[in-house]
Structures are given as structure tokens and as C-alpha cells.
Symmetry: C2
Subunit: 392 residues, 2 copies
Amino acid sequence: MRQVAILGVAMTKFGVSEKTNLEMFTEAGLEAIAQSNLEPKDMEALFFGNCLGDFEEGQLHMAPFAHAELGLPMSAPATRFEAACATATVAIRHAALLVGAGVYDVVLAGGTERATKMGTPLATRTFAMASQAQHETSAGITFPGVFAMATHMYSHKYDVPLKELKRHMAGVAVKNHYHGSMNPKAHFQKVIDVDTVLGGMMVADPLQLFDCCPFSDGAAALVIADAAKAKDLVKKPIYIAGMGQASGGPLYLQKDLTRVKVRETSVGQAYREAGVGPQDIDVIELHDCFTIAEILALESFGVYDFGKAYDAATTGETALNGTKVVVNPSGGLKAKGHPIGATGAAQITEIVEQLRGESGPRQVEGARIGLVDTLGGDLGTICNIILTNVVK
Amino acid sequence: MRQVAILGVAMTKFGVSEKTNLEMFTEAGLEAIAQSNLEPKDMEALFFGNCLGDFEEGQLHMAPFAHAELGLPMSAPATRFEAACATATVAIRHAALLVGAGVYDVVLAGGTERATKMGTPLATRTFAMASQAQHETSAGITFPGVFAMATHMYSHKYDVPLKELKRHMAGVAVKNHYHGSMNPKAHFQKVIDVDTVLGGMMVADPLQLFDCCPFSDGAAALVIADAAKAKDLVKKPIYIAGMGQASGGPLYLQKDLTRVKVRETSVGQAYREAGVGPQDIDVIELHDCFTIAEILALESFGVYDFGKAYDAATTGETALNGTKVVVNPSGGLKAKGHPIGATGAAQITEIVEQLRGESGPRQVEGARIGLVDTLGGDLGTICNIILTNVVK
């Protein structure tokens, strides 16, 4: 396989938008193409992520319409991917695989979502369709409920009193809002404190409002190309070092919600391909849909032992300038926001900018290797991508 | 790229089913795997097509749940594709590209749809979401309307009186129902005559009921593998000779509905890759969502000159034992049925069985090269796959 590079990245401001999915994706896509010193006519394919356009805007089959708005050539096929919250990451992985294989030299990939268009509480109900409909959604379970159960199991399994665990989970929210306060594209840019989190309304016991990420509107896109061509086009190409994708199936197959085996499988693939391990990672964008999710992810990665990551945020080890590894410098899903089908592309956008040294006040100094982690559904899909600024 | 082979193919009976999408896809998937003399654990990835599971069953993110029902390994990623009616073909093309590239050796690909679950007339309204929502669906256009306009344009452009054109279009329906009468998996297995078609209720002037394909329930799946391994596993592997996929964007970019340029682009890619032309094709499964669509497709392929295919069915040239090329021996979408996200996989199933010589009373004698054609939306996506039983 050829080495694969990312040339240009772009994302819209995340938050509440009156723009359509096509308008947002076009904004991000054209900016990513321009940053790559290319033109729409140079794109050989579009790998497009969107989750719920049919419910949001009555729009199925969105890929060829995004393709048309961007002015891509007819011969460049546009393909829609959907993997719940991991939608964009899965689209991007397939794009990178086909560039690596030599099928395409230059492609555009990314995603968009207009999640606030669905309204509350309909959004939670609608998005619960990413759980198994026959056995789970029909029983009334939604994602806050799944991660609430995981929190109780974690507290019980590792003998961390729930009150103490919740204080440390609040630390995750505080850290990610602090990071988000330095990100002008973030949905929420205000710092919060532990009292803000512990004083929030109850969503699904023990998860309170600030334990949960928001739904957001937004789009993000990137240009992926054969690394041999990258140097001629941009000053700082970022390379894909390794990727993984694995399928966990429905929740009832997950014997222990505190051990996300599907993530261990996926990140293991990515580590092997990249020839690195958890100790080599400088910066991580991971799927903090709920505060507990960040803790579980860090343990799945092997960055912390099982049962040991719960206080990582409160000790400051995972914050900017922390001693272990910087986690979610963008603000994460928690503060940057979570436009479902765009999230993975925005995570990669952050890591690429970090590895270029372009992240301003939230720059992770000397970052060389970054890890992206996106979870789809209640552990149904995991996709990981490891990026580096070091040529192989 | 390595040569890619299809080992096993299977489809459920098409029609109206009480089974869920997951049940139907599991039935087809396990049969395709067994026919390949493999087991679920041997599958290295799942390329899964479904269009409207969220509207049909409240099920988004269906790929990992299908993966679980089939018992595939956690390390084998399951990915959902959606390209309107071309959904399964696009999923299969990506599977074949990645097997050809050496990323995977053996994968399962296919699709499922429970389209009758949406009910009538909601199904037509819902499926119109595959048109551009902002400028087309909102204006009230649905697919029968698009192909009705194409019929009027064809009549006008080529100076074929509408009454005469409609009689020839009825011939397409009669031929495909005749073929379907020999297919025990077809939704409709009764022969009809021209009077049946011309006596049908008006749907969108000039298209009457029998000019239109039905919505159906069904699933189809195939095992795709490195050709080097195929001979050891099955007696008659069928090879992928060439593929194409192109994007036409929204209807308002189609200057002339009688010239489906996006199909000319896609099939041109497939011809070049296969090193064949229209004169080499023995059997075609094409996207006859409406009778006029079969006529337009045959002209896009170059099987007939533009303006010359309209009487191909009534002259008998495209029927079983016809003199030109056998078109839709399965019965096509028209009679075999149209479970949206499964259609492309069922078209390939038919061509594979034809090239193996296993099609019984509807066998195309001596078939060596077959063409699959699937259209997504109102010309937004086209995907073509050329298959052969001749080793390269």
C-alpha cells in the first residue's frame, strides 16, 4: 500500500445553524480543497458521511447532491457512508484505503449533520435508532441510558464510590470545556467548574446535563492524497500511519460495558499498522459523548490500565500541558459539539492542525503522533485513525 | 490490482414479507457463505446496503447488527452504504475494489430492504427523498413524474408518436413479466400482455401501473474473494471484469433526460476496465424502474443507437433467445421486484447464475459476459459491474 497524506482540512463553526447540510458541507469541502492548492475538478471521488438527513431535511441519497454543489466531475463517484456517530471516520477510512491502494490519487472525504434540526426531545428518540431496533430501542433504551449503566458498572467493578466517580467525571467535562474555550469553532466556548456539572439537571441517573455532549450542526471535510504527490502541493502534509475499524454488534452482546472490546480490537489494528503503542501518542481526539465514555476509551487504548483512568482529568494528566497525553484539545464532543455525521472529520481536522503546529493557544507542543477515536451507536462500530507528521 | 471473483450468491424470495431486514439479510448472507464453502468466521468485512431502515423499522446503523446476526468476527468491520436504488451495487463495488487492492481476501457484500413496510402512498413520498430535497422533492416531484417527463421528451426528440412509444414500452413490461414467470424468486410470476399494460390505471401521464416496478421486500448477498483462492473453494467462480460508478447530481443539472450522461460515464469506465464493448455483452440486468428506463439504458450502453431502442422489446431482440442481447432475464425490477437496497445484489446474483449456466428455463445459452446496471435516484448515481466466466 502507498503512504497516504492529508493535504487540507476544514470545518464549519459547530453549533446551531440555519444552513442546510449541503450548504455546510460545501463550505467545509471548498475550504479543504483550497487549502490543498487544488480545485474541485481535481477530486477523483467523494466519500461522504451523513446520518439522518432524511429525518432532518427529507434528504436521502445526499452524496451526489453534495458532489454537485462542490462542482466535482461526473466521473468522480460520490458515495454516502453511515455508521451512526462514526459515520465520517468510516467514510474517511475507506477513502484512505482506496488512495493507499492506488485506486484514486486525490479524494475529498468528510461529513455533515444538521442534528439540531430534529429538535429536542425528538433528537434523542430519533438517534436511538442507532441502537438495535428490535431488542433495544423498542425497550426504551437511549444512549444516555447505556452510558448511565456503564457508569454504575464501572463504580461497582472497580470499587470507586459513585459520588467520587461523578466528581472525576465532572473533571472530564471541566477539562473539555476549558479546551473548547480556546476553540473558535466550538459549539460551547465557556469554561465551567465542577459545581456546574454536579448542579445540572439529571438526564439518566447518574448522568447529569454536563456529563452529556450536545447535538450540533456542522460539517467537516478533508483532502486525502497519495503521499508522493503531497509535498508538491502543501508545506505540511500529515500522514495516515494506521487505521482500524471493528464491529461490536448490539448491546446485548457486550458482556461488560466497562470493557469496550470492539475498541480494543479496532485500536489494536491501528497500533499494529502504525507500529506504535499507547505510550507513543501525543494527542488524542476521542469520542466523549458522555464523560464516562472518555474514561472507558482511555482504558481501551491502553493509555491507562483498566479501572485507572477515572481520575485522569482531575489530576490534570490529560489536559493541555498535562503529564500523560492531551485528550480532546478541541473541546471534544462535549464542548466542540457533536454533529453526528461530521464528528469524525472534525476530530481529524483537530489532529491534523495539532500535528502541523497550527492550533494556537491550545497547541500541544511538539506533537508528532495523534490518535482519532470515534464510536458509532452503543458500541456497534468503532473506527480509529493514527496520524503523524513524520514521513515513514 | 488482483483479479476478483464471486464465489457464492443468494437472494430471498422477493415480494411482501413479514421478516425483518436483519432476518432477510441473514438468510441471504448465510446461504451465500455456505455456497462458497466458507463459514461466517472467514469473512473479513461486511459491505452492507440498506436505504430506508430508519423509516421502515426505526433502524439506523444496521450494518453491525447484520454482522452480529451472521456471526461475523468482531475484527471484520461492517459498513453501511446508501446510494438510493444503487445502494447494494455501490457497496459491492467498494468491496470488490478493496479485495482487488489486497486489503481483504474474502468479504460479504449485499443489501436488504423492507420497502413494503412503508406502505402506499407513503412509500413513493418517502422514497422521493432520494431526489434533491430543497429544489425537487419540495416541488412535489416523485420518480414516476421524472420518468414520465423523460417519456414525453423521448417521444418529442425522436419523433416517435406517444401512442406508438407507449405500445413499445408495454412490450418491455410484457417481456420482463414473461422472464419473471420463470423465476421462482420473483415478486410477480404471471405473464401479462400489452392490453394489461395499456389498461392499467394512470400513475403519472403517460406512465400507467404496469410501466412501473413495484416496491418489494427482500435481500441478496454475495461472497467476493481474491480470484487466486476462488478455484480451491468453488467449481465455477465468476470474475469481475470491470466496474464504473459516476455521479449525476440533481435533476436540474440533467439537460436532456433522454441522454443519461452519468450512465455513459459509468459504463464507459466499466467497458474500459473490462476491455469490452457493448457488442460483447451476452446478458444484461438493468435498472427498469419504469419501462422507459430500460429503453434509455440500452441506448446509454451503446447496445442501440440513441432513439433506436424503443422497439427492442416488441421486436423480441432483447427477450430470452432474442437476436441482440438478453435484457433482464430475472424479470428485472419490473417483475422480479425492487427491494431498493437489495436490488443491485440481486442483479449480480442473476448474472452470476447465468454465467454459471444455472438459470434453468431462463438460461441465456452460452453466456460469457454479463452487465449489471443500477440507477440511484433521478440520475444522481449510476453503478455498473461487468462479470465474466472467462479467466483473465
